[in-house]
């Protein structure tokens, strides 16, 4: 975890900017937000994120919060989750949501795409075994439908089953009845989400000017 002095250190900002790709202004704004959320402490805890009121109505709230504390997203070969994160980790996770810059090569675009999809994959693969099992996928769908009324787990199960069947049939093709499809690997995940242009859609607009609304 990086240690920041209370005054923004330009040099540290520059290293972060190089690492994550944000501009210096964006980093400053995000740092302000970080300090706001962590109540001016050095590290951020899960409870700090849980205080954001707007996040309450989000059905996948817990998964989003978990993603911030998941070492796999910190671009090192991390395993497991941590209890608290510093600004560098916060920024790293945020960097997954950057828009692709205008002139990048095809390889870079593909790399960005893989990175974003990897992030999504990690969100689903909670036990970090490299595959999204049926149970994990069911959990995803249940969470998605959790706010949407009491239609019960059966519906979510049915949808998740259908989705899983689809992945299996797309990725593996015809299977004999004894074979067992372990789960969605990262490669299969890439394949099924081929139609969705992730690098175009998975981004938010990071401001260059400070217009953050005070969190409620």
């Amino acid at each position: 975890m990086g240690s920041f002095q209370s005054l923004p250190d330009d040099h540290q900002y520059r290293t972060l900017s190089q690492k994550t790709g944000f501009s210096l202004e964006q980093i400053a704004i995000l740092h302000n937000r970080f300090k706001q959320l962590s109540q001016n402490e050095e590290t951020l805890w899960r409870d700090d994120l849980k205080t954001i009121q707007d996040l309450e109505s989000n059905p996948i709230r817990s998964q989003i919060i978990e993603a911030f504390f998941d070492s796999r997203n910190f671009q090192k070969d991390g395993v497991g989750s941590v209890e608290e994160i510093g600004f560098e980790e916060f920024l790293t996770v945020m960097s997954y949501f950057r828009a692709p810059p205008q002139n990048i090569t095809v390889e870079q675009r593909e790399e960005m795409r893989r990175a974003k999809l990897r992030f999504l994959f990690n969100m689903h693969d909670t036990d970090n075994d490299g595959t999204i099992t049926l149970e994990e996928y069911r959990h995803v769908v249940e969470e998605l439908l959790s706010r949407s009324g009491a239609l019960g787990r059966e519906t979510a199960k049915g949808i998740a089953d259908a989705a899983m069947l689809e992945v299996a049939s797309i990725s593996v093709g015809p299977m004999a009845p004894d074979e067992f499809y372990e789960g969605i690997t990262f490669e299969h995940f890439l394949k099924i989400l081929n139609g969705v242009e992730i690098e175009m859609r998975m981004h938010i607009h990071f401001l260059n000017m400070d217009a953050t609304v005070l969190c409620k």
């Binding site: 996040l55 989003i64 239609l151 299977m175």
Partner: protein, 769 residues
């Protein structure tokens, strides 16, 4: 051969059109009246004169003249459309709109030859009858997601682009008119500006006609098409503005300012009017569950009323219609039956297609008919300026827009956008509406407009397809929406909203999420009937997909080829982890009890087998399109529920899931066992085992074939049968003829189905004493 017959019929039709077109009363009616009078005269004169014989056959054309002619024109238009598709080579080179204009020219020419006056495209007819179906079709099926994502760009092109075009063309034309050597000095600035504003509007009809054939990628399609729809407001405002100014004589700054206000009123007012009618339509559709037949009527009438209401106030009718269609669609689709949905879709497509054809034909006819005044310089100048203005406008605007877009518009895109700016009948009709008193050069305008329209439709329309291929512009991808994509789209939406909240600024996703939540909480409750109002989008999508698959399955008939959408190669068994045999607190069944159970089951199966024998394949296929499809799905859910219960229970009796096969077969099964839904006791096990494979039951074999996924699979009860009670002891297997020793029953799930939320506790009874 076909073609020759077709041309013959066509010739006859056109031939009949001419004497009937534009003529005054034909002699036939006269004869009829004469006869009548004569008869009356006879009556009065008494019986002295010989009575004229009763007219068995008389001709009275005047009565039916108008509807007859209209029908004849519509028939001609539709036959033309048919004809073009019979000539595949031609239709691949020339877009339909061009061919239709040529046909119009021919017909107009023929009519003129005969000496009659060809009918002109009356502006009233155009605006009130021909245009609305096309716009409603476009608005109802507008892809909302892409539209709103690109709304900024579209608005920029529509508003700023059209304004730029109008003033550029108008101004430069005025400059040209002032030049020496042309006798155009009579054209004042206002007329030029009016002309410019009319001609600069991209026409939705023409764009639709051409772009639909080239299957360009969705982004470009929505950009050009959206622009053509939204620029109507600008055109309307400018048109009325300049017309008023011409009447008024003097212009002040206030007037200019009022013009801007007028623009806002016209566009926003149109949208509000449309939205109101849309909500009314959605609300009405909530109550139509008992009168399904007239559901489509409500949609059409409300939309048309929206258009007319907007026109009353000189608001933008097109925007009203688009708003109405777009607003009512999600709610109406949740309320109306599947058949109504199909009806609406096909009626809209049919009407818009006919309208579109008629418009182009009439354009051709009007060209022959209309009073023309050809002025080389004016016409050529108009054409050149239009093209230049369009190109400059697109380039300039894209430069500005690209600063704000994530997905930038490449120069290829810009070229297509500029090239796709086709003009069409709206411009023509607007000029036609001009009052010749105020605009003495109206005929010249008409000529110029027709030339521009012809140029854009013919030259640009014909060449855009090879250009698209040449430039390798991305085409539309025909991908089927998969449930995985849907799940992840929703997931992404929530994820991005969450990240935005964490970042602390209210961005695009935040507001969209807020709108969705508002929609779900308040609006849907009002406008959607019953249970559907609480259904989240994912589930609605899932049901829709299921329905589609069910219908596809039925439509593919008994063929061995199954629709590819179904993951038929993988079954539930493949993805479900093998559960370790659970040690449930099941009492060990005594031998006697077991025997009893088996006997009961056997007798039940025998009974149902007998019942089924009377059915043959044809009676099995019920109509899947009845509204009973919903009931079937509910029933299937219950079946699945039962199956789950049973499967959890035992080692002895392994029960395969009833396959989610076609509703028709399911229905037939259920029909033969009316007590199936009781689910109360052993004897009423709902899924009848549709015959095992045995030579004496050929029908059942056929049914089996329908569902055998691969030929190599052993025929057997497990595949398509209902609950096959497979008993371990071999001597009891006489009835249950299982050809192979399948270690495990197959779980075939073509369509997975969510079970019901409620648990029926009764079903536990059967196997426990």
């Amino acid at each position: 051969m076909e073609l020759k017959m077709f041309i013959l019929v066509l010739g006859l039709l056109v031939g009949s059109l001419m004497p009937l077109g534009g003529a005054s009363g034909s002699p036939g009616s006269g004869t009829g009246q004469d006869e009548c009078k004569k008869n009356n005269g006879d009556e009065k004169n008494g019986n002295k004169t010989t009575k004229k014989s009763f007219p068995v056959l008389s001709l009275n054309y005047e009565n039916v003249r108008l509807p007859f002619e209209i029908s004849l024109w519509v028939l001609l238009a539709s036959l033309m459309k048919l004809g073009f598709h019979l000539m595949p080579r031609l239709s691949s080179i020339v877009p339909e709109s061009c061919l239709l204009i040529v046909v119009g020219l021919l017909v107009g020419g023929l009519i003129k030859l005969v000496g009659k006056a060809p009918p002109v495209l009356e502006s009233n007819i155009f605006f009130f009858y021909l245009l609305p179906p096309i716009i409603l079709d476009a608005g109802y099926f507008l892809p909302i997601r892409q539209f709103t994502e690109n709304l900024g760009t579209i608005l920029m092109f529509a508003v700023v682009g059209t304004l730029w075009n109008a003033f550029f063309v108008g101004g430069l034309l005025y400059g040209v008119c002032q030049l020496e050597g042309t006798n155009l000095a009579g054209v004042n600035l206002l007329s030029c500006l009016l002309f410019g504003s009319v001609i600069s509007a991209v026409d939705p009809v023409a764009v639709l006609a051409v772009f639909e054939e080239i299957h360009i990628n969705e982004l470009l399609h929505i950009l050009v098409f959206g622009e053509s729809l939204l620029n109507d407001a600008v055109t309307v405002v400018l048109y009325h503005l300049f017309e008023e100014f011409t009447n008024a004589g003097t212009i002040t700054v206030t007037d200019g300012f009022l013009g801007i206000v007028c623009f806002l009123v016209v566009s926003l007012g149109g949208i509000v009017v449309g939205a109101i009618y849309g909500i009314l339509a959605a609300f009405t559709s909530r109550f139509t569950s008992h009168t399904r037949v007239i559901e489509p009527l409500f949609i059409f009438v409300y939309s048309y009323m929206a258009y007319l209401s907007a026109e009353v106030f000189h608001l933008s009718g097109i925007m009203a219609l688009i708003a109405c269609g777009a607003v009512m669609r999600p709610y109406v689709e949740a309320n109306i039956s599947h058949k109504s949905h199909t009806t609406i879709k096909y009626f809209l497509k049919m009407w818009s297609s006919v309208s579109d054809t008629l418009i182009f034909i009439f354009l051709g006819v009007s060209t022959v008919a209309g009073p023309h005044e050809w002025n080389w310089i004016f016409v050529v100048a108009t054409l050149v300026f239009c093209l230049v203005a369009r190109v400059l406008g697109v380039i300039g605007l894209t430069f500005v827009i690209n600063k704000f877009r994530i997905v930038k518009l490449t120069s290829k895109d810009q070229f297509i956008i500029a090239y796709g700016g086709l003009r069409g009948a709206i411009a023509f009709s607007l000029v036609y509406l001009l009052n010749p008193k105020h605009f003495p050069m109206r005929n010249m305008f008409l000529t110029a407009i027709i030339t521009v329209i012809f140029f854009t439709v013919f030259v640009q329309g014909m060449t855009i397809r090879p250009l698209v291929d040449l430039l390798a512009v991305k085409k539309k991808q025909e991908t089927k929406r998969s449930i995985n994509e849907e799940i992840h789209t929703q997931f992404l939406d929530h994820l991005l909203t969450g990240i935005e909240d964490i970042c602390g600024h209210y961005g695009h996703h935040h507001w969209k999420d807020k709108l969705n939540r508002f929609n779900k909480k308040y609006v849907k409750k009002c406008l959607i009937a019953g249970e559907r109002s609480k259904e989240p989008q994912l589930i609605a999508f899932y049901h829709k997909m299921e329905m589609k698959q069910a219908i596809e399955l039925v439509e593919s008939g008994g063929g061995s080829k199954l629709p590819s959408a179904m993951p038929s190669t993988v079954s539930m068994q493949n993805i479900q982890p093998k559960k370790p045999p659970q040690d449930r607190a099941l009492p060990q069944l005594s031998k006697a009890r077991e025997e009893e159970i088996r006997k009961i089951l056997r007798t039940n199966l025998q009974r149902t087998r007998q019942r089924l024998r009377s059915y043959n394949r044809h009676t099995l296929i019920a109509d899947p399109f009845e509204d009973g499809l919903d009931e079937i799905l509910i029933k299937r859910k219950k079946m699945k529920e039962l199956e789950k219960k049973i499967s959890q229970m035992n080692n002895y009796l392994t029960v395969p899931a009833p396959p989610a096969d076609s509703p028709s077969v399911a229905r037939a099964r259920l029909a033969s066992d009316p007590q199936a839904w009781g689910l109360k006791s052993v004897t009423e096990i709902p899924t009848i085992k549709v015959e095992l494979v045995s030579p004496q039951n050929p029908e059942s074999v056929k049914v089996v074939d329908e569902f055998s996924k691969k030929g190599s699979q052993p025929k057997g009860s497990e595949e398509e049968g209902g609950l096959t009670m497979r008993v371990p002891s071999s001597e009891k297997q006489r009835k249950d003829k299982t050809p192979d020793e399948e270690p495990q029953p197959r779980f075939m799930r073509c369509l997975s189905d969510p079970g019901p939320a409620a648990e029926d506790e009764d079903e536990d009874e059967p196997f426990l004493p």
